[in-house]
């Protein structure tokens, strides 16, 4: 006998992500999942963002790395609440890890939570954390072909950052090819071209983050 089911398959991760989303909503926190390959400048971007939003938004940070708390220490120096998650061998953050981190953070004193995912352009795309927005950070030295090679993560992005634009004169980076490839995969997400070294483009990026609102439901 055949029984119709017609049910979406949500993993245990997705169910916990929904709980995280509800917790964040109830505290009025906007959470942003920052994804990039190792070395693209996720932590530098977070430090620049904290400085740019000083006095405008209370920022909190979750740092995801395989090991160590190098990044968390950098963030903590700014006086920003931060929790380090060490994934061991894990190639991405998952919703249960973020749940644990949310319980360590003073959510009532945070407006914007930046979640730095493990450096990886593949696996983080498939794991919801309960975030409001997903952001992908690419950088000039990585080359313009990253969107073509890793389409999955660019497709799901709500915002895109191209970092290290100050290095463009020294590197064979085809900006037109990069923008074309990104637009083919994702026509709607804004693209911010920035340099965390010089501060170029940071104001527009910070203004976009500041305009994000927590979900209604």
């Amino acid at each position: 006998m055949e029984l119709p089911v017609l049910e979406q398959i949500l993993s245990a991760n997705d169910q916990i992500a929904l709980d995280n989303r509800e917790l964040l909503r109830s505290r009025g926190v906007v959470a942003v999942n920052v994804m990039a390959s190792p070395g693209a400048g996720k932590t530098s971007l977070i430090l620049r963002t904290i400085a740019a939003l000083q006095g405008r938004q209370r920022v909190g940070v979750i740092e995801g790395d395989l090991a160590g708390r190098v990044d968390a220490d950098k963030v903590a120096k700014t006086g920003t609440p931060v929790v380090q998650i060490n994934t061991g061998g894990g190639c991405h953050l998952d919703a249960p890890q973020v749940r644990w981190a949310l319980e360590q953070l003073p959510l009532d004193r945070i407006d914007l939570l930046l979640i730095e995912n493990v450096g990886n352009l593949v696996c983080p795309a498939g794991f919801a954390l309960g975030e409001q927005a997903k952001v992908v950070v690419a950088s000039v030295p990585e080359g313009h072909d990253k969107p073509v090679k890793y389409p999955g993560i660019f497709v799901v992005a709500d915002g895109l950052v191209l970092n290290k634009v100050d290095l463009a004169p020294y590197i064979d980076f085809d900006a037109v090819a990069f923008r074309t490839a990104v637009r083919a995969l994702n026509a709607g997400a804004p693209l911010f071209e920035v340099s965390c070294k010089t501060g170029e483009g940071i104001a527009a990026w910070a203004a976009w983050l500041e305009a994000l609102r927590p979900p209604d439901i």
Binding site: L3, Q8, L10, S11, C123, A181
Partner: protein, 117 residues
């Protein structure tokens, strides 16, 4: 996507099938019919491997997974034509050469039905 990522979703597939089977008072699940879009990145063999392991001793022990794969389709944002997006190349409409478009198929991931006795 690396194969280990099939484990949590396979757990969910098993839970969904067991819940529906119990609700119907079924004695055994013979087959589970799944619909999986090609853009999900999930690998059939991997799901079956984890399923065989997780289902041992349950109503679904020995059940066959019948997987219907759905090919990716994109609707051009300019001319509205539907096309199959190429692997590892920029998504360009074969009719008008516009870039990208809206994904209309390929993200499916659901349990369609179960066969029980």
């Amino acid at each position: 996507m690396a194969a280990m990522h099939e484990l949590p979703v396979t757990q969910s597939i098993l839970e969904i099938a067991l819940r529906h089977a119990r609700r119907a008072g079924a004695g055994r699940i013979l087959a589970i019919n799944l619909t999986i879009g090609d853009l999900t990145g999930f690998v059939d063999d991997s799901i079956q491997f984890y399923f065989d392991y997780l289902s041992k001793g349950t109503l679904a022990d020995g059940a066959r997974l019948a997987i219907e794969r759905i090919a990716a389709r994109v609707r051009c944002s300019q001319c509205g034509a539907e096309y199959a997006p190429p692997d590892s190349r920029i998504w360009t409409c074969p009719h008008c050469e516009a870039l990208g478009g809206e994904v209309i198929a390929g993200k499916e991931f659901s349990v369609a039905s179960i066969e029980v006795e």
